[in-house]
């Protein structure tokens, strides 16, 4: 898995790519929580996520709960079909705000 962060105004767009699995989800968790710690809204670009497991999902849930307490926005965008399937199985597709594209997300968050 690799991750990059770019800033679009007050929103950190976190791009996750590859497999967000047991080996790599600690890195994903760290970057998501760091962005929230800096007081930014977070939009996760999941178009390049080829695989996500329960540890990856748990990182997203923790970031989501963290953002809600801080009153900042946390959303997912362009979720790949593989990742969406797992979110559906975990019944979390209704919990997260999910934008069709990253542009929709930054407009919505702007």
């Amino acid at each position: 898995m690799k991750h990059t962060v770019r800033l679009e105004q007050d929103t950190a767009v976190v791009v996750l790519e590859g497999d967000v699995d047991l080996e790599h989800s600690p890195a994903a968790r760290k970057v998501l929580l760091e962005c929230l710690q800096q007081g930014r809204h977070v939009l996760v670009d999941m178009s390049g996520v080829s695989y996500i497991d329960s540890s990856g999902v748990a990182s997203l849930v923790e970031a989501f709960q963290n953002a809600r307490r801080k009153g900042t926005r946390f959303a997912l965008a362009a979720v790949s079909s593989s990742a969406l399937r797992v979110l559906e199985l975990a019944r979390l597709d209704k919990v997260f705000t999910i934008y069709r594209t990253v542009a929709d997300g930054t407009a919505g968050n702007g």
Binding site: D19, E23, D53, V61, Q65, L89, A90
Partner: protein, 577 residues
């Protein structure tokens, strides 16, 4: 008689000295064993040792918890340094601690380590110093220091040093034992508090009502306190409100959230009979305060004995099972996530309700503790196992039936809290036969793979599984689900069976039995035994068992099967086409 006073016959002197020394050590050990006040015991020991060696005064310094300071815990003689804190390398005593070695200084004033400020403060004149570390199994706890020999030229001699060293090792051992005992006492106290908490928690569960009351429940905590709860209460018009909840994670945090959720339910159920609205309000409350990714899967419902119908709302909880009068089983899966994750997950803050007609059958609502529990033969109970237990106990009266079901899974240490609540639509049930399992006739091995139980192995395992099941004719979604389930099952082995220690092995085997794919995961870790989990695991909050949930969603069957030798065998099955 002390050696300082001397004696005419050297052999007799030596023997008497040894006897006195043994007596001294025996007294000291006895003091430590019988007293709870370690500092008072240290003072007694120091006084005996100071007198015995024949010194003007002495002090015992112990290393602080951080190891950065030494603190005077006992003092004897013409000065009192009790409470004095020095850096762990200050003074001659600090040097003894740092080097874990005895010190004999016959000209203290000219020793580079001598702290003259202490004499300046006490007015005492230090001439000669003897120091021995208090050491147990190479671990230095502190040091004992004696100053100025009372006899002759107030200088200590080498025999004094040997004597002090012997006394110091006995004192150190006695001190270590006393500290260990104090730790045990503290653990006992904490256990006592937990037992009290468990008693209060049991008080939150409703009293069983005598037959023919149609609702009953049973709860078996895996540890002292439980993260599960159930409740029922009579509402107006003879209707009965009921709920079952399972808090993510284990231990005290889970128990506290359980207590909060159970109290909220009881409080709200009296005024609002709509299960969907009730879950909506509880969801808001828990979202406002729950921490660290904790949440609750929960079912709330209302049973109307007049119509035999249940209205029910399900927030991410295990699908309840309806055992029909004819012996059939029907599941009612949740469509909404658990409470405590998002306040806006459901429209207008209300969880959707569904209506279930019992038709003289019984509805069983349970937590995953029972499907994850092992039955008498050691196999994981699973939903199919639970169905068999329900069918086998169907002839019994309601609360006896629940007790019988619970007894079946309570023969091995529980991995998780077990809760079952039943709503009985009839007062007279006939015995029913259990559904039979279909046996596969054609078996073919698709994959056999052995790999190390480490996170960095999982990617190649996923690739191998994907290839094997694709070749067997699985569609894209089915393949993805299977890969996910195998990955999650491997993760459980890495994290919970091997507990993250590297070097373990996992063997994966995939077989095809007609149109069913069967997956066997074998590990060689110790059998997981909840009763041996260390106390610090009390705080273990898993991400809500999402992994187990994903496996169940992705596969048609899963569970542990008895393993003939060391290790565990986890079996999953998936029907394809």
């Amino acid at each position: 008689m002390t050696p300082a006073e001397g004696a005419a016959n050297p052999a007799q002197q030596k023997r008497e000295a040894l006897e006195t020394q043994l007596e001294l050590i025996a007294h000291m050990s006895q003091d430590f064993a019988s007293s709870l006040d370690i500092d008072a015991t240290l003072r007694n020991a120091l006084e005996r040792i100071t007198r015995y060696v024949g010194a003007e005064g002495g002090a015992i310094f112990l290393l602080s918890d951080s190891g950065e300071e030494i603190v005077c815990h006992a003092c004897h003689g013409p000065f009192d340094l009790t409470g004095l804190r020095l850096g762990s390398n200050e003074g001659i005593v600090g040097r003894s601690v740092r080097n874990n070695a005895c010190q004999m200084v016959r000209d203290a004033l000219n020793d580079p380590g001598f702290e003259s400020r202490i004499d300046a403060a006490t007015g005492f004149k230090t001439r000669s110093v003897l120091c021995a570390p208090l050491t147990v199994q190479d671990r230095c706890l502190g040091a004992i220091e004696l100053v100025n020999k009372t006899a002759r030229d107030s200088l200590f001699e080498t025999p004094d040093l040997h004597l002090l060293r012997a006394m110091a090792s006995s004192a150190a051992l006695a001190l270590a034992n006393a500290r260990f005992a104090a730790n045990l006492a503290e653990q006992e106290r904490q256990r006592g508090e937990l037992e009290l908490a468990a008693e209060i928690q049991r008080g939150l569960l409703p009293e069983q009502r005598p037959a023919p009351f149609p609702v009953a429940g049973v709860n078996l905590p895996a540890r002292l306190v439980s993260g599960d709860f159930f409740d029922f209460l009579v509402l107006d018009g003879g209707r009965i409100g009921f709920a079952v909840g399972d808090v993510s994670g284990k231990g005290v945090q889970a128990a506290l959230l359980m207590a909060k959720t159970a109290s909220l339910y009881r409080c709200l159920a009296k005024s609002d009979a709509s299960p969907g609205r009730l879950l909506g309000i509880i969801n808001q409350e828990i979202c406002d305060t729950a921490t660290r990714g904790m949440f609750v899967t929960m079912i709330a419902g209302v049973y109307d004995p007049a119509s035999g119908c249940i209205r029910l709302a399900n927030a991410g909880h295990e699908p309840p099972l309806l055992h029909g009068e004819g012996g059939s089983f029907q599941r009612f899966p949740a469509r909404e996530p658990p409470v405590g994750i998002s306040p806006t997950v459901v429209g207008e803050g209300q969880f959707p309700e569904e209506e279930i007609a019992l038709n003289k059958g019984t509805l069983y609502i349970f937590t995953d503790g029972i499907t994850e529990a092992r039955t008498a033969d050691g196999a994981q109970c699973g939903v199919e196992g639970l169905k068999k237990l329900i069918a086998g106990a169907a002839h019994l009266q309601l609360s006896e039936r629940l007790n019988a079901i619970a007894a079946h899974v309570n023969q091995h240490p529980l991995r998780d809290d077990v809760t079952v609540l039943a709503v009985d639509g009839s007062s007279a049930s006939a015995p029913r036969t259990a559904p039979t399992m279909r046996e596969g006739s054609e078996e073919r091995r698709l994959l056999m793979l052995s790999f190390r139980a480490q996170a960095d192995q999982l990617k190649s395992v996923r690739t191998a599984v994907q290839d094997a099941v694709t070749r067997a004719g699985c569609g894209a979604t089915c393949t993805k689900d299977i890969v996910l389930a195998v990955d999650e099952a491997c993760q459980n082995i890495i994290r919970h069976a091997y507990r993250g220690t590297p070097g373990g092995t996992i063997v994966l085997e995939i077989e095809r039995q007609d149109d069913v794919l069967v997956f066997w995961l074998r590990d060689f870790a110790p059998k997981v035994d909840v009763s041996k989990v260390k106390p610090r695991d009390l705080g273990d909050v898993r991400p809500g068992g999402i992994g187990v949930h994903l496996i169940r969603e992705a596969m048609d069957e899963c569970g542990f099967v008895p393993c003939p030798s060391e290790g565990n065998i986890f079996r999953m099955a998936k029907r394809i086409h």
